[in-house]
């Protein structure tokens, strides 16, 4: 059944190709249906492949399907080859499962858009590239998917390219992530120069033999790619702007595709990170700092989608933190759970925007929407509680295991920081929930729940967000950790700290503190949160602007870079280089007495000169022989 593996990405690719080439011929929603069906079939195939994988003994859960040699020069060889193993199938299931629901949602959401078919072509292409990324059997094919999702994010964030903000955001996403990608590319070349191959099976089992320093450099180059694609500090600035795309795109980018790629890359390559000694700690610290930074920034957001964007950055930080602690299966578990609850939240936000006039995204102009939109509110609440880490929803198990890993590894400082991050998560997410769905209505218009397709998607994803916890009821003996063991190794035994139960209780307590705090401020009526905003305006603005990182980049890097480029182009190139060369030319021609001639005349003279010279030389040769 392995032979099915290449078809998992191939079918969305076919969908994209058909839709791109036949474009506007599709009537009404048929293009959307076709695209959704393509992803659904891919999901079905992924399930089949998963089924055959599970039916095998644990040691045999790995197979490769090589299609043809892609690039081969000298000793460099790399194939178009796919890999079926527990990690790749879990990723493929998540991408296609959540992706299919997002497609389904978009069938109605995008209705009436003049470029409807093209939208779904890009969405299918996105899923295709993400599947290539997770199913690739070597790093170069992974890189194809890696760059491909960057392209699709460009196409989809800038889908409404008439708006300058959308076009800007699209370009920013592509360029910012490409900074990381270029480091990754060098990392792959470095890897090949050490291992003579880019196949996972010829690199990873030998990674432990790398010298510490070499492994650190290689791991950091890979991680730089991950930082870009997964929007971690300092390359996170593209993700909040990516909200310019249609909301299903945001859901797809944040939940199923693209941003999770970095986490996948680190987990896939964990042997290299482990060989380094310090690389994992760096991953953990970057993840944690990002989680806290983005958590604080999320608190300052009034735009519902920007709030969710920062929350994604923050949750991805947690995933990296987990991976950095060596809790790889917990990181992947959080990735899967996050895919569900973030998809619910984004699609919920889309439903809200859809229901309010002028695509309202400002949460200060919402409030009380649970009455008008009960189904959206219920599914959102599931997503909210899952994210905040309330048992028995999926986010609780996943985040608890990530945070607990720090305590169990005996790194108490990091554990406290991670708990603080979890507190922030509960706080901002609850704030968003209360501002949007609870309290007094501050919105205009007459909102209502979305049509049935969108409801179906919301409910399915909410069920997933609620129940995905069963995958990992325990960090050591849960279904997912055991399934992933052949790839990531067994979950590390606790070496320090309190028991799992105590850690869980602490986690829940922290989440509740966050929720209660938000309740006190935003819902209890005891505090006038509007007045609070005015009083702490500068703090609010700092949070809202994401601590001015983006402003710093535009002021300190983009501006000066433009000036420098202008200097090089207009002064160095035109005046210095060209000036010198044409100056030499003039000098030569004036010494030849041709200075006064018109330029055309000059050429003629010159050509005749060359001709005469050549004739003379040839004549000399003839005479000489």
């Amino acid at each position: 059944m392995n032979i099915l593996a290449p078809f998992i990405p191939a079918i969305p690719l076919a969908g994209a190709a058909v839709l791109l080439l036949t474009g506007p011929r599709w009537r009404d929603r048929s293009a959307g249906w076709l695209a959704s069906a393509a992803v659904a079939v891919a999901f079905g195939l992924a399930v089949t492949v998963f089924g055959t994988l599970v039916s095998r003994p644990v040691t045999l859960r790995l197979s490769h399907v090589s299609l043809f040699e892609w690039i081969g020069v000298g000793s460099f060889r790399v194939d178009i080859a796919f890999r079926v193993d527990p990690l790749s199938t879990v990723m493929a299931l998540t991408v296609t499962g959540v992706g299919a629901m997002i497609h389904l949602y978009a069938v109605d959401y995008m209705r009436g858009d003049p470029r409807y078919a093209r939208f779904f072509a890009y969405m299918n292409l996105f899923v295709f590239f993400m599947l290539v990324l997770v199913l690739a059997d070597n790093y170069l094919l992974l890189y194809v998917g890696w760059e491909g999702v960057g392209l699709c994010s460009y196409l989809l964030i800038g889908f409404w390219f008439e708006r300058k903000t959308a076009a800007d955001a699209a370009k920013k996403a592509f360029v910012t992530t490409r900074i990381g990608d270029s480091a990754l590319l060098i990392g792959l070349i470095f890897m090949w120069s050490r291992f003579g191959s880019l196949d996972f099976d010829r690199v990873l089992p030998h990674a432990h033999a790398l010298a510490n320093g070499t492994a650190t450099v290689m791991a950091m180059l890979l991680f730089a790619g991950a930082v870009g694609k997964s929007a971690q500090l300092p390359l996170h600035v593209w993700l909040p702007d990516a909200m310019e795309g249609p909301t299903p795109v945001s859901a797809l980018i944040h939940a199923a595709t693209m941003v999770t790629a970095g986490v996948y890359l680190v987990v896939r390559s964990h042997q290299i990170f482990e060989a380094s000694g310090v690389a994992l700690t760096i991953v953990a610290v970057v993840g944690l700092v990002t989680a806290i930074y983005a958590g604080l920034s999320a608190i300052g957001q009034d735009d519902i989608k920007r709030m969710l964007a920062y929350s994604t950055i923050s949750q991805l930080g947690f995933m990296f933190f987990g991976a950095g602690m060596g809790a790889y299966s917990a990181a992947i578990f959080l990735l899967v759970a996050h895919a569900f609850f973030k998809a619910v939240l984004f699609l919920g936000a889309g439903s809200v925007m859809h229901a309010l006039p002028d695509e309202e995204t400002d949460m200060t102009r919402m409030g009380g929407l649970r009455r008008a939109m009960p189904l959206t509110a219920v599914t959102w609440v599931v997503g909210w509680l899952a994210m905040a880490g309330i048992p028995p929803l999926s986010g609780f198990f996943a985040k608890d295991q990530v945070v607990a890993a720090a305590s169990q590894a005996g790194r108490i400082g990091l554990w406290y920081a991670a708990l603080f991050g979890a507190l922030l998560t509960a706080l901002y997410e609850t704030r968003g929930t209360f501002l949007t769905f609870f309290g007094e209505p501050r919105h205009r218009g007459h909102p209502h729940d979305p049509p049935s397709l969108m409801r179906t998607a919301l409910v399915s994803l909410a069920v997933g967000a609620a129940l995905a916890g069963v995958l990992g009821l325990s960090a050591t003996s849960g279904l997912l950790p055991k399934f992933l063991t052949p790839v990531v190794g067994p979950t590390k035994e606790a070496v320090a700290g309190p028991s799992e139960l105590v850690l869980s209780i602490i986690s829940v307590a922290v989440a509740l503190v966050g929720i209660l705090t938000a309740w006190l401020v935003y819902l209890s009526g005891r505090i006038d949160w509007m007045a609070l905003r005015v009083r702490f305006a500068s703090a609010k603005r700092t949070f809202q602007r994401g601590f001015y990182v983006n402003d710093f980049y535009s002021g300190a890097i983009v501006g000066p870079a433009k000036l420098a480029a202008a200097f090089v182009a207009y002064v160095v190139d035109r005046r210095v280089v060209d000036g010198t060369l044409t100056g030499i030319g003039r000098l030569v021609s004036s010494s030849a007495g041709a200075a006064r001639r018109a330029q055309t005349g000059l050429v003629r003279t010159y050509a005749v000169g060359i001709l005469l010279g050549a004739t003379a030389v040839l004549g000399y040769l003839v005479v000489r022989s």
């Binding site: 690039i71 020069v73 390219f161 270029s182 182009a569």
Partner: protein, 528 residues
């Protein structure tokens, strides 16, 4: 192990190379006697000739036996017996694809010029002559013959730019002519030097490339000769700082002129470096490796930086060429199989991608009558297909995996990294910069609201334009996904080329290499 020097080519074979070289010229002769007033006849005839030439080039490809090293299908004739001037054409895996690229793009050049009416007869004849000269340059294995073809390129191109270009065409044409001529002067002197040197050393003066490879030269002489060849080809490539004719020539040339200039003429410079500098002066090539690589690196970054702020879209593409050709030279002077193979493939890739970009820019110009990005904007609204094709080509140009540019760029970076890591790290910055300038250009032209309301009425691609672009796009995708048919032919030729420069990489038996004697009299660059 393969033999370094192929056995003398069989004498009795169909002279494919001669036929493919002179078919366009024969077509030009016929065109010369057709009446000037029959515009469509001239167009159709030129198209037919270029299509036949393409067919002949494809026939050459099928006659070429892949995997073998050395020159094949050699056509040899005595020209001036007393002087030992010979007519020698031969093809290897490097020149094969240069010829194919030329023949593949010429029909597009004719088609895109369909609306040219003024003196169209002479315009089309100039292109046909140009095609013969270009193909001849790639196939000539006799240095005098090469020089003749190389010079013969200049006149039709000069006429095309100067006669059918835009406002500052005369300035640009003259600049193009003088820069190239200045380089050629060095080349001619060096070639003549070799000719006489052969006389005193081999007993008979000769321009035969493979014979000249057996010369042994004093080390300093070899290095001076290397520099003379290098200047001639560096102007053509163009390498920093000799590139300043390029933006002017490109900007002023008519669309087909820019296409051929970028796609083929620049390649003759890079091809010359590979064939003649590496082939004749391996010791000097190694000696100047850092010097040339650093120039290439400067070009890579410099071209990209200057492209960043161009407002004239043709100038922008021209500067991006400086950056891309820097990759070709960088890969070449890595002297690794991957680097040089990547460089050669990148020559093909650049021809397709940048050629297509110039075609698209021309199509935009025909519609909007401007090259100023500030005057465009929102064109994707009225021309979604053109915009889509533009993006596709731009992505290939910035090296998106799955399209052709990535394969070449990656191999160049890989082949460079294994020799000098820091070169590859510097070069990779251009990967980011390329995304910046290309996407910014794309945004200014295509995204946003329509900046000129009249642009709302502009038509999308027509059938003729589809016919021009679809084959190129197919090529871009094909090489990106399945480059093997090219790489498997390029690699043996690359090994052959490296046999004297880098025997370890070449893995071939070294039979005869140009030898150097004595000690260096001067030392511009440290040996790596």
């Amino acid at each position: 192990m393969m033999l370094a020097q192929a056995a003398p080519a069989p004498v009795h074979h169909f002279p494919w190379l001669t036929v493919v070289t002179f078919a366009p010229l024969a077509g030009a002769v016929v065109a010369a006697v057709l009446p000037s007033s029959a515009l469509n006849l001239h167009r159709l005839w030129a198209l037919l000739v270029t299509l036949i030439t393409l067919g002949l080039a494809l026939a050459t490809l099928s006659a070429y036996s892949s995997g073998a090293a050395g020159f094949q299908l050699v056509d040899r004739a005595v020209w001036v017996k007393s002087l030992n001037f010979n007519y020698i054409l031969g093809v290897d895996g490097i020149s094969l694809f240069m010829v194919l690229l030329t023949a593949f793009l010429m029909p597009a050049a004719i088609l895109v010029s369909w609306r040219i009416e003024r003196q169209a007869k002479y315009y089309l004849i100039a292109f046909l002559v140009l095609e013969s000269a270009m193909i001849g340059s790639f196939l000539a294995l006799d240095l005098l013959l090469f020089f003749l073809f190389f010079e013969a390129l200049l006149f039709p191109m000069y006429l095309i730019i100067g006669g059918w270009g835009s406002e500052r065409r005369v300035y640009a044409a003259v600049k193009f002519f003088l820069f190239t001529m200045a380089g050629s002067a060095f080349l001619l002197v060096a070639i003549l030097f070799l000719y006489f040197r052969a006389g005193s050393q081999l007993g008979h003066s000769t321009f035969d490339f493979t014979e000249l490879q057996r010369l042994s030269l004093p080390i300093a002489t070899a290095r001076w000769l290397f520099l003379a060849f290098f200047v001639a080809f560096a102007v053509k490539v163009p390498l920093f700082p000799l590139h300043t004719w390029l933006p002017d020539a490109h900007t002023e040339a008519p669309t087909a002129g820019s296409l051929i200039l970028a796609a083929v003429l620049l390649k003759i410079g890079a091809y010359g470096l590979i064939r003649f500098n590496l082939g004749l002066f391996p010791e000097a090539s190694l000696h100047f490796r850092s010097f040339v690589s650093i120039l290439a690196l400067i070009g890579i970054v410099y071209g990209a930086v200057v492209a960043l702020i161009q407002t004239d879209i043709k100038r922008l593409v021209a500067y991006s060429s400086v950056s891309h050709l820097g990759f070709v030279v960088l890969g070449t002077f890595a002297f690794t199989v991957q680097g040089l193979s990547g460089g050669v493939l990148q020559m093909v890739n650049h021809g397709l991608s940048t050629g297509a970009l110039f075609l698209l820019v021309g199509m935009l110009y025909e519609r909007t009558h401007t090259r100023d990005l500030g005057q465009m904007g929102g064109l994707a609204l009225t021309m979604p297909v053109l915009a889509g094709v533009f993006l596709f080509v731009a992505l290939s140009s910035i090296g998106l995996p799955g399209l052709n540019g990535f394969v070449g760029e990656f191999l160049v970076l890989l082949g460079t990294f294994v020799v000098t890591k820091v070169y590859a790290v510097i070069a990779v910055t251009a990967v980011v910069l390329a995304a910046v300038y290309m996407l910014w250009a794309y945004q200014r032209a295509m995204h946003g609201a329509l900046s000129v309301p009249d642009h709302g009425l502009l038509p999308d691609l027509n059938l003729r334009e589809y016919a021009i672009l679809v084959p190129i796009m197919a090529g871009i995708l094909f090489i990106g996904v399945f480059p093997k048919p090219l790489l498997s032919k390029i690699e043996p030729a690359v090994r052959q080329t490296l046999v004297c420069v880098s025997p370890a990489q070449s893995q071939m038996v070294v039979t005869s290499c140009p030898r150097v004697t004595g000690s260096p009299a001067f030392d511009i660059a440290r040996r790596p």
